[in-house]
């Protein structure tokens, strides 16, 4: 395993406060919300695991250990998920976009969920304009569905929240902003 201090980007003599700060900044960067439906989500997940392990290793002496850390990756699947679309969702999650699209083209019931999943396929492919049109259609057909609304809101806010910070000023954020930001992110991007 690589040096935990190096993973967190702090020196060996760093104070608890510094370590915590570095850790939180990293968590903010690699948080699952930033890699929502991203084809590289698996790499971000690995990175997050590495960061959590490093943080655990560094703080082992101080705390009781076994810190599960922020941002454990769990997919929030919709409760309304229908049988018909289970195969499509599995294909999308596995990254087989062509197969998912083929499955979708065979489905006759082209309601809100069908449009949403088409949007997911295009989003992962990087076809942002089409993806957004499909998400809009899905929300139009079923405005009460939180999953569809979130997907559209995520795109309209310009994608990953971390990206929208101004360049070169990550140090100007205090802990309050950080916590509030994480809370907002949670509200915006998940159920």
């Amino acid at each position: 395993m690589s040096d935990p201090y190096q993973v967190l980007g702090v020196s060996r003599g760093a104070s608890d406060e510094e370590i915590k700060k570095a850790y939180r900044e990293l968590v903010r960067k690699y948080h699952p919300d930033n890699y929502h439906d991203n084809p590289l989500a698996d790499l971000a997940q690995e990175k997050m695991k590495e960061i959590n392990e490093a943080y655990d290793a560094v703080t082992k002496g101080a705390s009781s250990g076994g810190n599960t850390g922020y941002g454990a990756y769990e997919r929030n699947t919709s409760q309304q998920e229908t049988q018909e679309f289970r195969g499509v969702r599995a294909a999308i999650n596995a990254g087989s976009l062509d197969y998912a699209e083929q499955l979708l083209s065979q489905i006759r019931n082209r309601g809100a969920e069908w449009n949403y999943l088409m949007g997911c396929v295009y989003y992962r492919r990087g076809w942002m304009d089409e993806a957004r049109s499909y998400y809009q259609k899905a929300v139009g057909m079923d405005p009460s569905n939180a999953e569809f609304r979130q997907a559209l809101a995520f795109m309209d806010s310009g994608g990953a929240p971390y990206v929208n910070r101004s360049y070169g000023s990550p140090a100007g954020v205090d802990m309050c902003d950080l916590c509030a930001g994480l809370m907002c992110m949670n509200m915006c991007c998940r159920c």
């Binding site: 960067k29 690699y30 930033n34 890699y35 991203n38 084809p39 590289l40 790499l43 971000a44 990175k47 295009y122 990087g126 076809w127 942002m128 304009d129 089409e130 957004r132 795109m155 309209d156 310009g158 994608g159 990953a160 971390y162 990206v163 929208n164 360049y167 070169g168």
Partner: protein
């Protein structure tokens, strides 16, 4: 279509600026050495970015001091060439040559004379580059043929047209050996390509409309009258922001190296600035001024 991907110089560290210039010179030297002095005219910012991105695996950057025609007396600091660093020169020649061919289609005989001349002069370099770049040229030709078909059919999908162009850039990541890094690079390059295509289309939209030429954005939004309405710009901003989110989230997964700072500057700040300038019209205005200044100087 070239020159959109550049750093925001005011935000670069002094060291990073020197590195960027060294990479620029490095690509120029690779071009001269590999493909003859004329190929040096294909040098541009976008390909410099590509060469930097392909160097992203370097933990420490290596430099050498060299003279050139532009700086014959004082030696300049140049990023080391040779080996993998030279492949970008081949890409550069191929892309500029294909771009020249592309511009011949749109123009009349006399207006296209300079492009014809330049193409004839670059022919030898192009043939050499095709041989050295594996199947990059074949991929690029295929994608461009597809793009021409879409343009001829006046496609109303910006995703489909941008995809052909984006795939060409993404193909440049193929030489990377580490699979995870290759995925990251190809994701960055795909969205850089997509962004460039759309930004370029936005930049030319008004002129294309007046000249009656095909423009993907004009077809997509069904606009006419010579101006791009605010509603369309809002949609375009969203689609561009999402592409940038994709490239930045990919960039954050790239292992830290000697060039990380510059790449970050270009993706976070440089492209942001160019996007703003293109939407406000400042970018086009600047390009025009540069061109007219050239003519006056002649």
């Amino acid at each position: 279509m070239f020159g959109y991907v550049r750093p925001l110089k005011s935000e670069l560290k002094v060291r990073e600026l020197a590195q960027f210039e060294a990479a620029y010179c490095g690509l120029c030297h690779s071009l001269g050495k590999g493909f003859g002095p004329l190929s040096r005219f294909t040098l541009n910012y976008d390909l410099t970015f590509l060469s930097i991105l392909l160097r992203s695996g370097e933990k420490t950057a290596r430099f050498e001091r060299r003279r050139c025609a532009v700086s014959p007396f004082r030696k300049k600091c140049v990023a080391c060439t040779g080996g993998d660093a030279d492949i970008c020169a081949a890409y550069s020649v191929i892309l500029v040559y294909l771009k020249l061919e592309d511009s011949l289609i749109d123009e009349g005989f006399f207006r296209s004379l300079p492009a014809r001349l330049m193409r004839a002069l670059l022919r030898g370099a192009y043939d050499k580059a095709v041989k050295r770049s594996g199947n990059f040229a074949a991929l690029a030709l295929d994608a461009l043929r597809e793009l021409h078909e879409l343009e001829a059919a006046r496609s109303s999908s910006i995703d489909r047209t941008a995809d052909s162009f984006a795939r060409i850039l993404a193909a440049a990541a193929e030489t990377e050996k580490d699979e995870n890094v290759r995925r990251v690079l190809s994701q960055i390059l795909y969205h850089v390509g997509r962004w460039v295509y759309i930004v370029d289309a936005r930049c030319d939209a008004a002129e294309d409309m007046r000249a009656g030429r095909y423009n993907p954005l004009v077809s997509r939004f069904g606009i006419s009258g010579g101006e791009v309405p605010e509603v369309c710009d809002r949609e375009l901003r969203i689609t561009l922001a999402n592409s940038r989110a994709m490239m930045i989230s990919a960039f954050e997964l790239l292992p830290e190296g000697a060039w990380t700072g510059i790449i970050g500057n270009i993706l976070y700040a440089g492209m942001e600035q160019v996007t703003e300038d293109v939407f406000s019209g400042a970018y086009r205005h600047r390009q025009k001024r540069k061109r007219t200044k050239w003519r006056v100087d002649e």
